[in-house]
Structures are given as structure tokens and as C-alpha cells.
Amino acid sequence: MSAMWPAGYEPVLLARVSRPDSRSIDGYLADGGYASWKKVLAGIATGEWTPAKVTEMVKASALRGRGGAGFPCGLKWTFVPPKEKRGNKPVYLLCNADESEPGTFKDRVFIEKDPHQILEGMMLASFALGVKHAYLYIRGEMVHGAEILNAAVDEAYQKGLLGKNVLGSGIDLDITIHRGAGAYIGGEEPALTESLEEKRGHPRVKPPFPAVSGVWAAPTIVNNVETLCCVKHIVDRGADWFKGYGRNEKNTGPKLFCISGHVERPGVYEAPMGIPFMELLALAGGVKGGRKLKAVIPGGSSAPMLTAAEVANMPLDFDGVAAAKSMLGSAAIIVMDETADIPKAVTNISKFYAHESCGQCTPCREGTPWLNKMLKRLVNGQGKRQDIDLLLQISGQMGNGMTICVFADAAIAPVISGITKFRAEFEAYLAKAASPDFALSAPSDVTKKVAERMAEGIHC
């Protein structure tokens, strides 16, 4: 296997994954695993370690959530209401391993190759948050991963690292692995809590935010797998060490990138936050067959696609990608070369969203299949002249507060970016269509009026 990190870079998150015994607790302990958990537990009595200290470290590290939104992790933790306010309610930690964003396959590496790294991160976060029962919600389809995680949890109990009064520290902690039922939307925070409660995984109107009222109406912190792994390393080596990675104070730490599409060596790569896109592309062996780069989806299918020009000087961190009007999201980078058919790619993505919409909000439930049906028709050579604008208009009616969760915004991002940046390709399909002007009779006064009113509906 070729190196999955830049030359001279010392991998942190992926350090153990290619070891033969990476999964077992013995291998993990032999590599110095659970040292931080033991250190923290031992330090409780002496007052050396307190929950506040761990939280402060995470805050100081400027760790941003790796699940998609890039929200500062330490800040999120402080949203849990203090004991005086929440009364007897427990606090829950919910590790988000629902990983379903198209193009994303980084959490799976931790789950299948280094599960104890996740567990240790969960233990340390639980300590910081005063959690007595933490859950890991794993995507339903990852049956194998769930088996590995369950085995890892069993091992941790056997070694006395979980359970009542862990290592005599007075801390009680249980971890439960919960399998989802196989829905992308299950990864959205309130949907995740609903699903954990064995209800349909439906996003809910916020507020209340999960940090205040989540699982069983108790304060719940949801963190991505990779975020929690970072927590482990921050407690291992300190916030300053963590901040040593990255372009600036707001984008720190080692980061995993999932590269797929038209590259020579697709896979999960580790690099410091802020690595320029072109460098990462080179690391992955460049564009497949030496062809020309055409477009890049920088953060999973929900991120607006970028043109080759837009990514030429783009650093891969939250603010760097945001500056290019897209988002780093889950750092799932989908590379498309000159042979890529953008309308077909967009159609394919739109099928995913039509399939995964939870169906409760009208604009998303109706809009996602509508976009998909129209796109399918277009690429099948049955497009009509007005379809392209209609696609934009419909997309414009779905996002920006029109729905409960941001799924709809995610669903329209590829459509809007694809059409606005590669419009000529969509129009080329029209030229192939049997009768593109089929529906275009001379506009009557009524239809003109409608068109005017519809135009007002666009706010994308």
C-alpha cells in the first residue's frame, strides 16, 4: 500500500490502521492505547484531572467537528446546561457513526481498523461531559463494523476500562453500540436522537437543540467518530500540539480526507488541516490517466461542486473551502475529470437525495423526486427548453429555511452548482432531445403572469 499521507508527515489518526493487530485491545494497549484514559482516571483523586480541564483542552485545541458542519467541539460541549439547570437529568454522549454522505468513508476506517481509538475518545469525552452512558450509533448497513465495535466494547469491559467504578476511579461508564435502520438522514443530530429512541429517524424543529434536550429529553452531545478520535489525541499530546497542524488558529489538527472519483489512488488520506487541494490530488496519484481535471465536489455530495479553476489554489480546511463558496463537510472529495458527464453526475446525486429524504417537509419530500424526475428526463433525451431554468427555480424554492433540516439545502447544492457552472452541458442534452420546444406554445397572458410570479420565488 502506498503512503496514505504526505511525505515526511507522521500520521496520527491513521497511525495504527495498517498494523496487523490493529483491532484487538491487546494490540491497542501495546501501542500505548488507553494511556490517556488511565492517566485521567488516576488523576481524579489527586485533582490533576477534572472534566473542566479536558473541556478546556479541547476548546484550546480549536478542534472543529469532523461530521460536516465544522462546529467548534469545545464550544458545543459547553452548551450542556449546568447541573443546577438540568436537575437530575443525565447527559448522554452520542457518537455519530452513521457515515452515509456519498463519497465519505473515513469513519469506517476507524471502525473496522482501530475501534479502540474511538472508544477511548468516547471515554474521555464522557468524562469531560459527566456522561455515564455513551452510545455509538452506527449506520445500519455496516453490519461488519457493528460486530467489530461490539467485540471491542466487550474487550474494554473485560479489561475493566468500562463499567462501574472504572479502575477504582469512582467513574461509572457504559458504552452501547446501536445500529441504525439504514437511512442517511439518521446522521442528522435530532434524527439521530429520535432513531436512538427507536422512533423513525426524523429531524425535529430546533430549538431545543440536542445539547439541551436530546435523547430521552436529556442533554445530549453528538460528535462524529473522527472528532472523538481527535479528542483522544488532544488529551494524549496537548492542545498546542494539535494546533501545530493547520493553516490558522481556526482550522487545526490532523485531518482525514476521502478521495474518490477520477484519481489514480482513491482512498482515505491523512494530512494536516489546510493542505492545498492540488497537493492532496498529487498524493492520490493525480487525475486518472493523466486527464484534465474538470470538477471537484470537496465535501461530500451535499457540497456545491467546484470547477478546476476554483480548486487550483484552494486549501482544504473549513474556511478555505467556504471561501470558494462550497464546504469541507465530511472532507469527501470527489474528483471528476474531463470525461465526466456533469448532468449525469447531478442526476445520479439527485437520485440519492430523492431516495433518502425523510419525507416530512413538503418542499423536500416533493422537491427531491421532482428534481430527479426532471433530470432523468433531461439526460434521457426528453428535456424541454424550460427545464433548466425550472430546475434552478425549484431548487431555489427548497432551501434557505424552507425545510426543517438542511437536507434540502444539501440536495439542491449539486443541482444549482452543476447547472450554474456547467450549463452548456445541460443545454447540450437539450439539443439531443427529440422536441425540446414541445411544451413551448406562445405564452398567454396568464402564463406570462405566472412566470413573473414564479421568478419572485427564486431566492437561491
Binding site: R204, V205, C361, G367, A439, G457
Partner: protein, 571 residues
């Protein structure tokens, strides 16, 4: 209370109101589907979009709690565009065949589309179908047609939060999302038809009413359910002297928005009339017919004359008058006055059936027990009959003695031939028949009318007005739905005519007059007026799905001011 501004109009709303309620309070009609004042807020339909100053994006107003000084722009360009968008999305897969949909005329989707939608559709994709999930029974009363569903989840939340039975759920997801019963279950609870009431569209309809009458032909009359002592407020929906359905009529202090299936489907029982003229015994027919019970139809003069004659001839103690928990308090009161005071018999009694427990969810109602109002008497006015001076029958009372055979009345006067379900039981009827002369008021034929000497044809609930005293001690008025055929009288008129023969009543008295008289003497009615809002209740609303439109200003203020009238509270 907080002050907010809606489209430039300042309104004061309760602290816990949401922006949608504030709009309604300000008289700005923001269309909405999933919001219902009794269900949790889910913000799913995205119809109620507005702009709120300070929020960068459009907001679903039902999901936004009001804050002091909040500025809501419900009619801004952005708000209207957002609502147009939702309406367009709702319609792209809707069948749009209102002419053959039974909800048409009381459909919120139709209303909102007509009021604010666009005249043409931009979609040219095939519309979604739900084979196997259209026009299908999902319970004893409700038929589901998922092609019409707009996924507002009101029905699901009704079953979860009001009925507490949770039969319904979403199945599938995305564009295939639909409402169905949980595997192996039916929509079968005490109030299942309310799920169809709250459905804003034609996705859930009741078997009993479906395709029976286009709703715009229906006349609505404020009435009270005859099913039990709770006395749910209802709208009797009728046309051309035929009752087609009952709908609940909102009363925050009693049935809230609900009624039970038992009461609702009594509607059909109000139809039918077997007697158009009084019936009296005929000596000639008696002699010629083998069973010796020949009768003929006659006019009121002869019938009432005969009754008057028999009553004056009888020993007062040998007269037994039976009132009814189905009759209004006014009628029971006239009966008690006439027989107790004028005829002079101590025997003015009623008997009502104990029914199965009926329950209505209304945690805020006075007398609610475990969140429910409960009724066990299977008639609406047992308390009113008693309050009017008609005594409850017992083993030792005259009716009890008649049943054991120790009393043989000279005249038995039954003011309601259906006062108990036992009047269909031949053995029971045979005991009543022991009376030497038997008079009954009746609308329909029964074992009892078959053996009566005199049958006086009366209108039933649809043809009269009056009041009932419910289980909470609340006086509730019902109105005349339609006037019965000419020669048929109301029970009240019959008693007034009879009383006039005794020189104690006047036939020109209206129900309101009688109400006034009894209010002066009956403590449970003390201080109440026939037209008092608490007695009249709210008007029948325009559509069942929108029935809470009467709740202006928003719910909480109405709830808070809803108190029982002082006198009624005593019961």
C-alpha cells in the same frame, strides 16, 4: 402577554403563543396544515412561512415562539413566494380531482390553493400513485386514500397525543411517505373518526358519510350529542329533512374538538319517522280485530282530549308519568309541573340506562378525570331531568312497583317511548302494558308503541330546541335542525297543549319562555339566560378540519377565560 407586530398591526398575545397564532390574532390569515392547537408542533408542512425581522431566512411561523417586540411580515414578497412554493410542491403530486373527491368544499388544500395558489402547474412529470393504499379501509369507520395525503401527520398525532392509542404511523420515506396503520393493527379506537376530522384533505374520510352528500349542500345546526351525559357539542349536518352526519362543534370546556364514534354515528338514528298522526284506540276495530287492540289515526284534538279525559278520571296516585333523560330539561320540567302539580300525582319519574364508559380527552375541562371527561349514563340529560323535578326511578318508586306488579296505574304517560333500551324488550313492555291506559310520545315504532293506547307523534332531536344539563352541570342548548311535517309536534308542544286543557300552560310559550320559567326555580339553571354565550356555545364551523378557526384570539387566552357559569359549577 407580549406585544408583537404582524404586517404593521400591533397585537398582544399570550407568552406561549407562536408566530402563527399571533398572525391569526392580528386577523392575518396565514395558511397552514400541520398546525393544530391541540397537537405538538412539528413544522412539517411548511405552509405557514413568514418573514420575521432579524431572522435571515423565512420561518415556519408555527415553530417560532413569540418574543416581545417581534415583527412578523406575513405578507411580504418573500413570505408569499415561500408559501407559493410550498403550495406548488403540495400540488405537483396531488390528484387535483376535486370534483370526485368527497372532501371538496371543506378541504383546506383546496381552500388554500384557490385563495393563494397559482393557476397553472409547472410540472409535467407523472403524478405519484399509491396502488394498494388508495380507497382502503383502515378501520371500522375510516377509509384512507394516500394519493390525497399531504403528510401533515395530524392524524398520527391525534392517535398518539389525544386518543393515546397510536395506531397510525408514517411508512416508507421521501416521496413515497404515507400514513398507514401499524402492521397488524386497525385504526380502531373510541374516537377514530376524529382522525378524519383533523385530516385537512380527503385522505381520511368516514365510511358512514363518504360520498353521501356534497358538503356545500349541508345545513349545519348547533346541537348536543344524544349519546351520553357528557353532551359533546355537535353540528347536525342535514339536508331536506335528512340527517347526514354529526361533526363535533368546538367547546373548550366540554368536548374540546372531539366526539366519540358512538355518539357520532348516532346521526343515522335521527332519521326515519313512523308516526305522522296521533293514534287512538278504536272500539269498532277493537271488536273486529282478534288481538283486541285496534287503533286508528286521528287528529290532535281527539287524541289530547282523550288523554285529558283519562287523566282527570284517574285517581292521582294511580297516575304514573315517565320523563326521560333524552328529553330536554324544559320538557321534563313541564312534565313535572303538569303531572306533579296539576294532576297531583307523586309519581313523576324517569329511568336512564347505564351505558358503557364514554370518554372525551379534555384535561382542562372541569370534572375531567385522568385527562378525560367521563360519561356512564347513555342519555344526555339525566341530570336535567332530575333538576327539573322528575325523580329517578328506584325499586320502591312507582315505576319499580309497576315492574314488580304491585302497582297498576290507571294511566301510564310515557313522554319518550325510547326512554330506555329496554322498551325494545317484550317482557319489559308487557309489564308497562299492565297499566290500564298507556300513552306514549314517539317518533319511531317500537315494541312499546305497538301496545300503547295512544301514540302522540313527536319530532325527535332534529325538530326541536331545548337544553341539556351535562355531567359537569353545564347547561347546553341545542337548536332546531329542521321543522317536522306539519301535524307532528315537539314534545314541548304536546305538553303545552295538554297543559292548556288543564288550564295551566299556554300554547304560545316558546322553549325560551319555558327556559326562563324554569331558570327562575331550578337551581342548576339559576341566573342563566337562553341566549347566554355559555349556554349557546360556539357556532358550527365551516369545516371540520378548520373547526378551530373559532379560536381567535389564540388558544391560551380562550382556554384561560373559559369558566363554567357560576350556577352550573355547583353540580
Amino acid at each position: 402577554m407580549v406585544k408583537v407586530t404582524v404586517d404593521g398591526t400591533a397585537v398582544e398575545v399570550p407568552d406561549n403563543a407562536n408566530a402563527l397564532e399571533a398572525c391569526r390574532a392580528a386577523g392575518v390569515d396565514v395558511p397552514h396544515f400541520c398546525y393544530h392547537p391541540r397537537f405538538s408542533i412539528v413544522g412539517q408542512c411548511r405552509m405557514c412561512m413568514v418573514e420575521i425581522d432579524g431572522a435571515p431566512k423565512v420561518q415556519a411561523s408555527c415553530t417560532v415562539p413569540v418574543r416581545g417586540g417581534m415583527v412578523i411580515r406575513a405578507s411580504s414578497e418573500k413570505a408569499l413566494a415561500a408559501r407559493n412554493a410550498t403550495m406548488e410542491f403540495l400540488l405537483i403530486n396531488h390528484p387535483l380531482d376535486c370534483p370526485i373527491c368527497d372532501q371538496a368544499g371543506e378541504c383546506q388544500l383546496q381552500d388554500n390553493a384557490v385563495a393563494g395558489g397559482l393557476p397553472v402547474s409547472r410540472t409535467s412529470e407523472p403524478r405519484r400513485q399509491f396502488p394498494g393504499y388508495d380507497r382502503t379501509d383502515i378501520g371500522p369507520h375510516v377509509i384512507a386514500d394516500m394519493t390525497r395525503c399531504i403528510q401533515c401527520t395530524r392524524c398520527i398525532r391525534f392517535c398518539n397525543e389525544i386518543a393515546g392509542t397510536g395506531e397510525l404511523t408514517f411508512i416508507e420515506r421521501g416521496g413515497h411517505t404515507m400514513v398507514w396503520t401499524h402492521e397488524g393493527h386497525q385504526l380502531d379506537n373510541e374516537w377514530s373518526a376524529c382522525a378524519a376530522d383533523v385530516c385537512p384533505v380527503g385522505a381520511l374520510t368516514t365510511k358512514e358519510f363518504r360520498f353521501r352528500k356534497r358538503v356545500w349542500w349541508l345545513k349545519k345546526t348547533a346541537s348536543v350529542c344524544p349519546g351520553c351525559e357528557i353532551g359533546c357539542n355537535i353540528s347536525i349536518e342535514h339536508r331536506e329533512q335528512v340527517v347526514h352526519r354529526f361533526l363535533p362543534r368546538v367547546n373548550l370546556g366540554v368536548n374540546d374538538f372531539w366526539m366519540c364514534d358512538h355518539g357520532r354515528f348516532l346521526a343515522e338514528s335521527l332519521n326515519g319517522r313512523d308516526f305522522l298522526k296521533p293514534v287512538v284506540p278504536d272500539d269498532f276495530l277493537k271488536a273486529s280485530e282478534p288481538d283486541g287492540r285496534g287503533r286508528r289515526e286521528t287528529n290532535w284534538g281527539e287524541a289530547l282530549g282523550l288523554v285529558h279525559e283519562k287523566l282527570t278520571a284517574a285517581k292521582p296516585a294511580a297516575v304514573l308519568a315517565i320523563g326521560s333523560a333524552n328529553l330536554s330539561t324544559e320538557e321534563n320540567w313541564l312534565l313535572a309541573e303538569l303531572f306533579g302539580k296539576t294532576v297531583g300525582t307523586p309519581n313523576v319519574e324517569f329511568d336512564a340506562d347505564q351505558g358503557p364508559l364514554r370518554r372525551i380527552r379534555n384535561p382542562k375541562a372541569i370534572g375531567a378525570d385522568g385527562g378525560f371527561l367521563k360519561g356512564t349514563v347513555a342519555a344526555p340529560n339525566a341530570r336535567g331531568a332530575e333538576a327539573a323535578g322528575v325523580r329517578k326511578a328506584s325499586g320502591e318508586s312507582a315505576l319499580g312497583r309497576l315492574l314488580t306488579g304491585s302497582l297498576v296505574p290507571d294511566v301510564l304517560y310515557v313522554a319518550d317511548a325510547a326512554f330506555s333500551a329496554r322498551t325494545a324488550d317484550p317482557a319489559f313492555v308487557a309489564k308497562l302494558r299492565k297499566a290500564k291506559f298507556l300513552v306514549v310520545h314517539a317518533r319511531t315504532r317500537s315494541a312499546l308503541t305497538d301496545v300503547a293506547d295512544v301514540v302522540l307523534p313527536v319530532s325527535g332531536l332534529t325538530g326541536k330546541d331545548g337544553s341539556f344539563l351535562n355531567v359537569q352541570g353545564r347547561v347546553q342548548r341545542f337548536d332546531v335542525a329542521f321543522v317536522p311535517p306539519p301535524i307532528v309536534k315537539t314534545d314541548l308542544e304536546v305538553l303545552l297543549h295538554l297543559g292548556q286543557r288543564f288550564g295551566v300552560f299556554e300554547t304560545r310559550w316558546t322553549t325560551a319562555d319555558v327556559f326562563g320559567k324554569l331558570a327562575a326555580t331550578v337551581p342548576a339553571y339559576g341566573g342563566l339566560a337562553w341566549d347566554a354565550p355559555a349556554v349557546v356555545g360556539l357556532p358550527p364551523s365551516v369545516s371540520p378540519a378548520a373547526s378551530y378557526d373559532v379560536l381567535r384570539p389564540p388558544r391560551t387566552s380562550v382556554d384561560d377565560t373559559d369558566k363554567l357559569p357560576a350556577a352550573a359549577g355547583k353540580a
